[in-house]
Symmetry: D4
Subunit: 164 residues, 8 copies
Amino acid sequence: MNSTSKENESPLVGILMGSPSDAEIMSRASNTLNQLGVPCEVLVRSAHRTPDESIEYARSARERGLKVIIAGAGLAAHLAGVVAAYTPLPVIGVPIGAGPLAGQDALLSTVQMPPGTPVATVAINGAQNAAYLAARILALADAELAARLEQAREERRRKVIEGD
Amino acid sequence: MNSTSKENESPLVGILMGSPSDAEIMSRASNTLNQLGVPCEVLVRSAHRTPDESIEYARSARERGLKVIIAGAGLAAHLAGVVAAYTPLPVIGVPIGAGPLAGQDALLSTVQMPPGTPVATVAINGAQNAAYLAARILALADAELAARLEQAREERRRKVIEGD
Amino acid sequence: MNSTSKENESPLVGILMGSPSDAEIMSRASNTLNQLGVPCEVLVRSAHRTPDESIEYARSARERGLKVIIAGAGLAAHLAGVVAAYTPLPVIGVPIGAGPLAGQDALLSTVQMPPGTPVATVAINGAQNAAYLAARILALADAELAARLEQAREERRRKVIEGD
Amino acid sequence: MNSTSKENESPLVGILMGSPSDAEIMSRASNTLNQLGVPCEVLVRSAHRTPDESIEYARSARERGLKVIIAGAGLAAHLAGVVAAYTPLPVIGVPIGAGPLAGQDALLSTVQMPPGTPVATVAINGAQNAAYLAARILALADAELAARLEQAREERRRKVIEGD
Amino acid sequence: MNSTSKENESPLVGILMGSPSDAEIMSRASNTLNQLGVPCEVLVRSAHRTPDESIEYARSARERGLKVIIAGAGLAAHLAGVVAAYTPLPVIGVPIGAGPLAGQDALLSTVQMPPGTPVATVAINGAQNAAYLAARILALADAELAARLEQAREERRRKVIEGD
Amino acid sequence: MNSTSKENESPLVGILMGSPSDAEIMSRASNTLNQLGVPCEVLVRSAHRTPDESIEYARSARERGLKVIIAGAGLAAHLAGVVAAYTPLPVIGVPIGAGPLAGQDALLSTVQMPPGTPVATVAINGAQNAAYLAARILALADAELAARLEQAREERRRKVIEGD
Amino acid sequence: MNSTSKENESPLVGILMGSPSDAEIMSRASNTLNQLGVPCEVLVRSAHRTPDESIEYARSARERGLKVIIAGAGLAAHLAGVVAAYTPLPVIGVPIGAGPLAGQDALLSTVQMPPGTPVATVAINGAQNAAYLAARILALADAELAARLEQAREERRRKVIEGD
Amino acid sequence: MNSTSKENESPLVGILMGSPSDAEIMSRASNTLNQLGVPCEVLVRSAHRTPDESIEYARSARERGLKVIIAGAGLAAHLAGVVAAYTPLPVIGVPIGAGPLAGQDALLSTVQMPPGTPVATVAINGAQNAAYLAARILALADAELAARLEQAREERRRKVIEGD
C-alpha cells in the first residue's frame, strides 16, 4: 500500500493511515490529489504499533520535500497529533468512523489538540476534503493548481445545477 | 475591533468572528500571530447578520493579498463554511464554546463540511492553534517564520522541562 | 429534479435540498404538500457548491410568490441558515440523517441559529412534518387548506383507532 | 405573569411556558414581539401540572384570534407537542436549557416530533428567534410588519458593521 | 392489536404504544406478563394523533380496575408523560429505540419528567423489564405472583449457571 | 443520617444513597414522603464501599415491612441495580448529577438494566419524583394516601393557575 | 462455556462475562491469553442474575490463585464494579457494545467508578486489550511472558511495515 | 513538580501529567500512593510539547525500576497512549476533565485504544483510583501493601457505616 501518484515527481503530500483497514476511506484523499495533479505518497504508520516509524516519517518529512501531511486514524486517533508534534509542516487529521462510536472518539481525539500543536481536522471520514485542503495550501504557491481547484469548484457547481 | 498587527505590512491572515462576544477567545489568534510576526487583520463578520459583507470579504481575500482566513463562530457556526465556499484560500475554523452546549454545536457545524469545501477545524475555543496552523502554512514559503515557529516550539518544550 | 406540484399554479412552497442524495427523504415533503393541494417546487441548491444560486433563490423567493421555504441538508447543514439570512419568509429546516453521526450534526447546525435569523427546525429526516408545518402556516390565510389539514388529522386519528 | 403587549389589541401570538422559572428566558420572546408591534399574551401552562388548561388553551386558540403559539419548556419538554396536537395553528417550540443536561433533553423532546404534528423548533433558550419566526409568519399577511422586520434586519447588520 | 391476556380476567396492566410499529418491542411486555399470569390489555394510543383517546384511557384507568400502565413510544416520546398527568396510577415508560438517534431522544423525553408527574422509566426497548417492574408492584399485594416472580428469578439464575 | 419519618410507624419506603454527598438531593425524597405521610427511612449504603450492607439491606427489606426502595447514586451508579438484584420489591433509581458528566453516566448506569432486574428510573436528581412514584405505588392499597396524592396534584395545578 | 487455557495449569486470569451473548467478543480475551501462554478460565457470571455467584467468584479469586480478573458486560454494566468491590485483585472491565447505545452506556457504567474501587477500563469491545493489559501486569513477575509480549509487539510492528 | 514519595526508596510508580494545570487533580494519585506507602515520582511530560522526553521516560521506565505508569491528560489526551506504545509496563490513564467538553474528549482519547496497546482507564479526574489500581497491581507481589489496601477498604466501609 505504498503508492506515489506520479512516478517521476517526488510527493508533496504524505498520506498516513493508522491501519490497513482505513485504506478504503483514505484512498479518497489520494484519488482526489491524483485528479488535481498533486503528487502524493500513501503509507500505513501507526502511532501505537509503529511509533518510531511514524515519528521518523514526521521528522524527515520537510527535508524530503513534503509540504503537507494527511493522517487518518480511528478510535483513540493519536496519529495526527503525534505527527504534528514532530514536524513543522501543516498536518491534516481525518477522523475515521470505525468502531461502535462511529468516529466520535476519533473526531475528539484528533481535533481537541492543546495549544501549540494544531491538527487541521476535517469531517469524520472526510479524506476527500483533506485532499482539497492540502491542495488549497499548496495552491498558495502554485497558480496552476489554483486554476485546477477553481475548475473543480466550477464542476461541482455545474453538476448541482445540471443535476437539478 | 479592526486591528492590523503591523501597520506598515498588509495582512496575510484575516481573522473573522461571528459576533463581538467572540473577541476574547479570538484575540488569542491575533496575539499569537503578532508574537510570530505575522501581519493579520481582525473583523466581525456574521454569516447571518452581515452575509453580503462576509461573502465580499471572502471573495476579495486572495486578491487583497491574504493567504489564510481564520473564522470563529459559536452555536450553528456557519461562518467558516460560508467563507470557504467563496474563497480558494485555506480556511481555518474555530468553534466557539458559547451557549448551553459548550461548543459541541459549533464543533459539528464547523468540522462536518461536505466534500469540496474543506474547513480546517481546530479545537473548541482553539484560536491559538488556529494561529499556529496559519503560521505553519505560511512558513512553507517563509524560512524566517519557520525559524520563529521552531523557536516557539523549543520554548514550549523548555517551559515544560523547567516547570517540571 | 425540478417539479411543480400543479402545473397551472405557481408554487407557494420552495423545497431545497443540499444534495441529490437527500431526494428520497425530501420527497416526503413534496408528496405531503401535493396531497394537501399545496403547489410547490423542488430544487437542489447547495450552500457550499452553489452558494450564489442558493442566495439568489432566497433573495427572489418572496417576489416570485413563495410563502415558505423548506431546506433540507445533512452534515454541517448550513443551507437553511444561509437561506434564512437572505429571505424574510419563514424558513423550515430539515436536518438530514446522513453520515456517521446520524444527523446529530445536521440537527445542531440547523437548530442552533443565533438571534435574528430563525430556522423552524423539524425532526431529523422530518420532511413530512416540514410540509405539515408549511401547510399550517399557509392555512392561516386559506380556509380550504385548513379544512384539508383538519381532515388529514382526523384520518391519522382514525387510522390509529381502527388499526388498534 | 399575564401580559398583553398592546392593551387595545387582541393578541396574535400566545406565549406559553411550562413553569414560572422559564419566565426570564421567555420574556425575550414577548419583548421582541413588543418591539415589532405584534400583540401577544404570556401564560404559564404546564403539560403535566395543568394539562386540561393547556389543552383548552390550544383548542380555543384559533377561534380566539391567535395566529401562532410559542411554547417554551425544559427537561422532558412535552408542552409544545401537546399544544400542537390540539391546535391547527403553527406552534413554535423553545427548548429551555434548564437542569443538568443543559437543554439537550428539552431540544430532543421538542424537535423529534412524529409525522403529522410538527413543532417549529428554535435553538435552546432561543425565545428571541421564536418571536422573529412568529413575526415572519405573520408578515406574510402584514406588509407593515414585514417592513419593521426588514428594518430590524438592517439594524442588526449596521450594528455589526459599525461595531466592527 | 387489542389483546387481553386472560379472557375471563379483567386486565390489571394496560400497555399502550404510540404507534403500531412499536408492537414488536412492546409485545415483550405482554408476553412476559402473560407468562407471569398477570392479565393485561394492549392498545395503540398516540399522544399526538389520538390525544383525547390517550387522555380518556388514562383518566378512566383506575376505575376500570387497572393498577399499572405501561407506555412505550419513540422519538419525542410524550405518551408516558401525558398518561401520567391524567392518572394517579404508577406509569412505566418504555423509550423505543426508533429513528436515527436510536432511542436517545425517547429516553430523555420519557425519563426527564418535572417534579410531580413521575414516569418509571426502563431501558431503551426494555419492554420486558417494564413487565417485570409492573409485576413487582402488583406482587406487593399478591403473594402468588410474588412466588412466580421468585421462580422466574431462580430460573434466570439457573440458566446462567447451567449455560456456563 | 438515619431518619424515620414517623417515629411510631415502621417505614414503608427505604431511601438509600451511595454517598453522604448525595444527601442534599436525596432529602427531597424523604421530605416529599414526609409531606405525604409515608413513613420512610434514610441510609447511606454504597454498592462498592459497603456492598455486604447494601445486599443485606436489600435481602431483608421485604420481611422488615418495606414496600419500595429508592436508591440514589452518581457516576457509575450501581446501587439501584445491585439492590434490585437482591429484593423482589420495586426499586426506584435516582441518577445523581454529580461529577463532570452531570449525571449522564449515572442515568445510563441506572436505567439501562438488562432483562429481569428492572430499576424504575426517574430524572437526574429527580428524588422528589422518586417519592411521588413510591407514593403512587403505595396508594394502590391505601385510599387515604391516594387522596393526599390527589390533593397534592390539585395544589400543583392551582399554583400554576394562580401564579399565572 | 467454561474453558481453561492449559489443562495442567491453574488459571491466572479469570474472564467473566455478564451474558452468553458476550461470548464472541470476550473470546478475543481468552484467545489472546492462550496465544501468550497465560492460563485463564472463562465463566458467565451476571451481576444481576447470579449476584451471589459473582460475589463468591470475586471473593475467592485470590486464594484460588487468580491474579487478574477481566469482566465484560453491556448496557448498565455493573459486573466489573461489583467484582472489584469483592476482590483485592486488579479488575479489568470490558464495556460490551450491545444494545441501541452501542456501548456508550456500558463504557460509562464501567469506567466512572467512585474513589476506592477502581476498574481498569479498556475500549468498547476491547477484550483483546484486556488480555494484553492482564499480560502486562503478570509480566511484572514473569520474564518469559515479558519476552513473549515483546515478541508480539515486534510482530505487530512488522506486520504494519510489511503490509505497507 | 518533581517529588518522590519516600526519599530513600526508588519509585515504583511514575506519575506523568500533560500540563502543570493537571497538578491539582493528579496530586490525588501521589497523595494516595504516599498514604499506601508506595514510592512514586511525579513529572510533567507532554505528548505534544515534550514528545521526546515522554518517550524517553517510557522507554527507560522498566529498567529504572518502575512497575506502573500513571498518565493524566486532558482534551485530545494522547499521553497515556504514547507512553503505552513505548513501555511494556501497565499504563493507567486518567482523563482530565478540562475544557468545554468536561473530559468527554479526554475519556475517549484515553480509553478507545486499538488492539495491542492497552491503557487501563479510570474515571474522568479519577486520579485517586489510578493510585488504588496501581496499588492493587503492586500488591500482587507485596503482601504488606495488600494488607494496607485491605485496611483502607475497611476504613472506607467503616466511614460509610458510622457516617450513616
